[in-house]
């Protein structure tokens, strides 16, 4: 899911950096000090998710769950994903600093889009499962598209590689859809305040 350093061109790196800067600024502005602890722990959970390998046919894929993070955090997904990716870069050297902007944007922008598109449907019980699946699948699909675009815009010769990136994301997208769906319905039953905020009444959910 990461693009490593040394692949992308200067304009793409710069635009990714600027977009991530803007997204993070909005996310931090909307975030008050009381919620910092929650965002930080969700960022660590997101990091741990990337260590969980789920079997897929003969191989396995690791979880991404940016859709789940998006519906939970909204714009705060930007600082959370930025943090998780920075920690991955320092711990495992996946990604890097110059490409951090692009990698963050590729995952956080779909998360924010899911927040606006999908979150309203999570409140209603009959749409919840479908909305959960949509959040997981859409966010990974969009992340794949953004990743492919970053490659294709850097060098037109990357076009076939970019197409392969999108194709490779399709099975991941389905798994993420199911896992996000089950996680969302689980949270709605077990701890609805994570999904809907403090004032939610568990009985009416």
């Amino acid at each position: 899911m990461h693009i490593s350093e040394g692949v992308l061109s200067a304009p793409v790196l710069l635009s990714g950096g600027v977009l991530t800067f803007a997204g993070t600024a909005i996310g931090l502005k909307k975030l008050d000090y009381d919620r910092i602890m929650s965002v930080a722990i969700l960022a660590s959970t997101f990091f741990v998710a990337s260590l969980i390998h789920v079997p897929l046919g003969p191989g396995s894929v690791h979880l991404i769950l940016n859709g789940l993070l998006g519906v939970l955090l909204g714009w705060a997904s930007f600082p959370a994903i930025l943090t998780a990716l920075l920690l991955q870069a320092v711990f495992f050297q996946f990604g890097g600093i110059v490409v951090l902007g692009v990698n963050t944007f590729n995952m956080a922008a779909p998360a924010v889009i899911c927040y606006y598109l999908v979150r309203p449907f999570l409140k209603e019980k009959k749409y919840r499962a479908v909305a959960g699946f949509a959040a997981g699948a859409l966010s990974v699909f969009m992340a794949g598209i953004f990743m492919a675009l970053s490659l294709a815009l850097s060098d037109s010769g990357f076009f076939s590689t970019a197409k392969m990136v999108v194709v490779a994301h399709v099975p991941v997208m389905i798994i993420e859809g199911f896992i996000t769906m089950f996680t969302v319905t689980f949270l709605a039953r077990v701890k609805p305040e994570i999904l809907f905020g403090k004032d939610s009444d568990p009985v009416s959910q």
Binding site: G6, L13, I36, A40, V48, G157, M164, F178
Partner: protein, 257 residues
């Protein structure tokens, strides 16, 4: 599971002020990432190997790390030689290998590895706690640094909680496979991890407010730059400029030729 494998040590790089190391890493990475010629990239790789030597890390662990990180690069080697447009140097049926594709894959491999080695020797030789404080004094917003420091603090805790649940599932004969039961189980394990982390976040937040937390950490280590730090950064900047000069010189030569 230990995440920070390289931060223990007493080498020159372990002792250098993290703020200077961050600045050095950004400057060198920028220059190497944007190299278009092999000469610049190889020079960059040389600089990062020298830094790795100075950091005196466990060679086998570094090698193992490099192997893992090169998986994305391996993907490029599978794709680029066959799909990048250019002169064909080898063909078998519909498969054609282009000279430009091989050259580009090679260039990316050198650049990416140079940057990874740089990263290991400059940034992974500090703890994230030190890097977080350094970032704050370099002007990164306070809230972002708090998120970084808190999530760094809780990654191991969250991971342990997840591992405990996964172990419990294994004891109950859960065997992962490609089916709906597996996906539901993973979702519930992860969901439970989320619930536990969430309540932990609330508890910790309350405990910190109770003790008068006002959004600032007071570190016991006041950062103070030594003359050595300035010399170090100076040398790195000269190296970065040398790589850039090499690049510019080469592109001028190409332009004239």
């Amino acid at each position: 599971m230990t995440f920070e494998r390289f931060c223990q040590g007493s080498s020159l790089l372990h002792r250098t002020d993290p703020r200077f190391k961050i600045a050095a890493a950004v400057a060198l990475t920028l220059v190497i990432a944007l190299c278009k010629s092999m000469v610049g990239a190889v020079f960059g790789l040389g600089v990062s190997l020298v830094l790795l030597g100075i950091a005196r890390l466990d060679f086998r662990q570094v090698l193992w790390r490099l192997l893992l990180v090169n998986t994305f690069i391996a993907f490029l080697w599978v794709m680029l030689p066959f799909t990048y447009p250019g002169d064909t140097i080898w063909a078998a049926g519909p498969l054609k290998i282009s000279r430009e594709g091989v050259a580009l894959a090679f260039l990316i491999t050198v650049k990416a590895n140079a940057i990874i080695i740089l990263f290991i020797s400059l940034l992974s030789t500090s703890t994230v706690a030190d890097l977080g404080h350094a970032l704050e004094s370099l002007g990164v917003p306070n809230k972002l640094c708090l998120i970084l420091l808190f999530s760094y603090r809780y990654i191991a805790v969250v991971n342990e909680e997840y591992q405990r649940l996964a172990r419990a599932a294994r004891f109950r004969c859960f065997r992962p496979a490609s089916n709906m039961h597996t996906y539901r189980t993973f979702a519930h394990l992860f969901g439970m991890t989320l619930v536990k982390s969430w309540t932990r976040a609330e508890r910790v937040g309350q405990a910190m407010r109770l003790r008068g937390f006002n959004g600032r950490f007071y570190s016991l280590y006041e950062p103070h730059a030594t003359a050595g730090d300035f010399v170090f950064l100076g040398v790195i900047l000269v190296a970065a400029m040398a790589i850039e000069a090499l690049e510019l010189g080469l592109s001028l030569l190409m332009f004239q030729g």
